[in-house]
């Protein structure tokens, strides 16, 4: 197949629907030779079968990943999907990753479109998270993990993330028939895959979310604690017991594995003496 015909067929399949009149324009745009033009026109109906096949495959993958978003948005979602196909199209070999590509594309469109409920993107991202976290890479070969040490970072399971939403979409019922509206409420969740390969969600306080984001980024426990406490106008020593409780819970769940090996510890931010002094103060 010539390069021009290959490009024209992609546009025919991914682009807006077209009839014989638009077909001539498509052939013109791609500078198709006479044989290719004649072949396309003669078998247009058969070529259009590929439009249906491609849409069925992608829609099935999306319905698996974000069923409630599809059900709630209906025709609005179809409109976004068609625009995604026409203007960007999937780039990934992996069907499970098409949802993330589509959501990245539609995010600015949905934010700017008053017809799209403002919680839609949060709901879609939350639904998509299940497959994303279920598929994240397994941990590399075991490291020498030590007991928790404030001077070092922490090692979590590889499949762990902190996510944030503007709406409490995680509290919506699982049913695709549900049409209740999520509360507008800043939300942070710790999401991880447990030892049984199940994806688990923990709702976080704002301070815990900041702390875990820092820890997942590889900074030392001391730095994460001091910076998260400062952001919420708290004394590190005052929040230390609840932080210890959180970390113990994550360890019991198998999400927190222990102290990071030395290589990661070296990435920890150095603290000045004043900060250390604050942390050592009385509760």
């Amino acid at each position: 197949m010539h390069a021009a015909l290959e490009r024209a067929l992609v546009e025919l399949v991914h682009g807006p629907p077209l009839g014989p009149a638009e077909l001539a324009k498509l052939a013109e745009r791609h500078a198709l030779d006479a044989e290719s033009r004649a072949g396309l026109a003669a078998e247009l109906e058969q070529w259009l079968v590929y439009r249906t096949l491609v849409r069925n495959t992608l829609k099935n993958a999306l319905a698996l990943a974000i069923p409630r978003t599809l059900a709630r948005l209906g025709a609005l979602f179809d409109e976004s999907f068609e625009r995604f196909l026409a203007e960007r199209g999937p780039r990934t070999h992996y069907l499970r990753d098409v949802t993330s590509e589509l959501l990245d594309f539609v995010a600015p469109l949905w934010r700017a479109d008053a017809r799209v409920p403002p919680w839609s993107l949060d709901l879609a991202r939350h639904e998509a998270l299940e497959i994303v976290v279920a598929s994240l890479a397994d941990p590399p070969a075991a490291h020498e993990l030590g007991a928790l040490d404030v001077e070092r970072g922490l090692r979590f399971v590889e499949a762990a993330r902190v996510v944030r939403y503007d709406y409490a979409v995680h509290r919506l019922p699982d049913s695709t028939a549900d049409r209740s509206t999520p509360a507008r409420e800043p939300t942070a969740l710790f999401v991880y895959r447990d030892g049984e390969h199940d994806v688990r969600y923990l709702e976080l306080t704002p301070l815990a979310a900041d702390l875990l984001e820092q820890l997942l980024a590889g900074v030392s426990l001391k730095t994460a604690l001091v910076e998260a406490a400062a952001r919420h106008a708290e004394e590190p020593a005052r929040v230390l017991p609840s932080v210890a409780e959180l970390l113990a819970d994550l360890a019991a769940r198998g999400a927190l594995l222990g102290a990071a090996p030395d290589a990661l510890a070296s990435r920890a931010t150095k603290l000045d003496d004043a900060a250390i002094g604050r942390e050592k103060g009385p509760p």
């Binding site: 096949l53 999937p90 070999h93």
Partner: protein, 296 residues
């Protein structure tokens, strides 16, 4: 240089295998041993990911032979196959100890876009040369033989220099790769494009067949047949399978079922029906060989 696919053919049992689907994965893992010669898997479903499915597949591999069959190589596109994908594929087929790796004679990506469907390639001399070179390079990269499957095509891109049979003859004269013969695809193409399936199949380079696929199809109201892998195998396709196997001799045969997947017991019953066709065909082929030997 990587050995040819036909030389590696004996690495997989000459029985009837089944496409592994997540719908019955746990039954395969935890149930009693199944009368299935091997399982075939799409590596894209397991590559670049952790979690349950790759771990489960490794356990399946401890109980049954596995062979990999990809979906997104795009061997016939203008752009060469994606190097990053091929390198990851190499690791995956090695992890699964697949005796060879197969994909489709198709275009599955273009201008950076992944099509997630098998688009037909043009049957031209240029395409045959390009695909042959790419297949041999792929085998060298993967470090194991490769095979390609004849696909269903609902339309045929211009220019049409060659018939499919002529194209395959030229392609396989130029490459060490094997042919993964999909009998249902030959049948569907013959019906949709109005040619004789047996005559076309007989003109395929059957001596290069390393594996055979068989599946069900769906008839649309318009009369068009779609290769859906979503129905039991049609009786005419089973007949064509027998016809093909009388000419190939014993090879691994795979039942594909990807849509409207029935219970595993139903699929195993269909595997047995396919095996009966295989055994009859191979007995006939063996008798023909003996007769030729006597007359010689």
């Amino acid at each position: 240089m990587t050995p040819s696919a036909t030389a590696a053919r004996r690495s997989l049992p000459n029985g009837v295998g089944l496409g592994l689907r997540w719908e019955f994965l746990e039954e395969v893992l935890d149930g009693p041993p199944l009368d299935v010669a091997f399982f075939e898997v799409s590596p894209e479903n397991y590559m670049r990911r952790g979690g349950y499915y790759p771990a489960a597949l490794e356990r399946v591999g401890q109980r049954y032979p596995l062979v990999t069959h990809g979906l997104t190589l795009s061997i016939g596109g203008q752009a060469p196959p994606d190097t990053e994908y091929v390198n990851e594929l190499k690791d995956e087929v090695a992890r699964l100890a697949s005796p060879w790796h197969s994909d489709h004679l198709a275009v599955t990506s273009s201008a950076g876009r992944a099509l997630h469907e098998l688009f037909p390639l043009g049957f031209t001399h240029d395409t045959a040369r390009r695909v042959a070179d790419r297949l041999d390079a792929l085998a060298d990269t993967l470090g194991r033989p490769v095979a390609v499957e004849n696909i269903t095509y609902y339309a045929r891109p211009a220019p049409r220099e060659l018939t499919e049979e002529e194209f395959l003859a030229e392609l396989f004269a130029r490459t060490r790769a094997g042919l993964l013969l999909d009998v249902n695809n030959v049948f569907v193409n013959a019906k949709n494009h109005g040619f004789d399936a047996r005559a076309a199949l007989a003109a395929f380079p059957l001596e290069r067949v390393v594996e055979v696929h068989v599946a069900g199809h769906t008839r649309l109201a318009s009369g068009l047949l779609l290769d859906t892998h979503g129905a039991p195998i049609a009786p005419e396709v089973l007949e064509l399978l027998g016809y093909a196997l009388e000419r190939t001799g014993p090879v691994p045969v795979l039942l594909e079922r990807d849509n409207d997947v029935p219970p595993l017991a139903t699929l195993c019953a269909e595997v047995r029906a396919v095996r009966a066709v295989c055994e009859r065909a191979w007995q006939a082929e063996s008798a023909t060989q003996e007769s030729h030997a006597r007359s010689a």
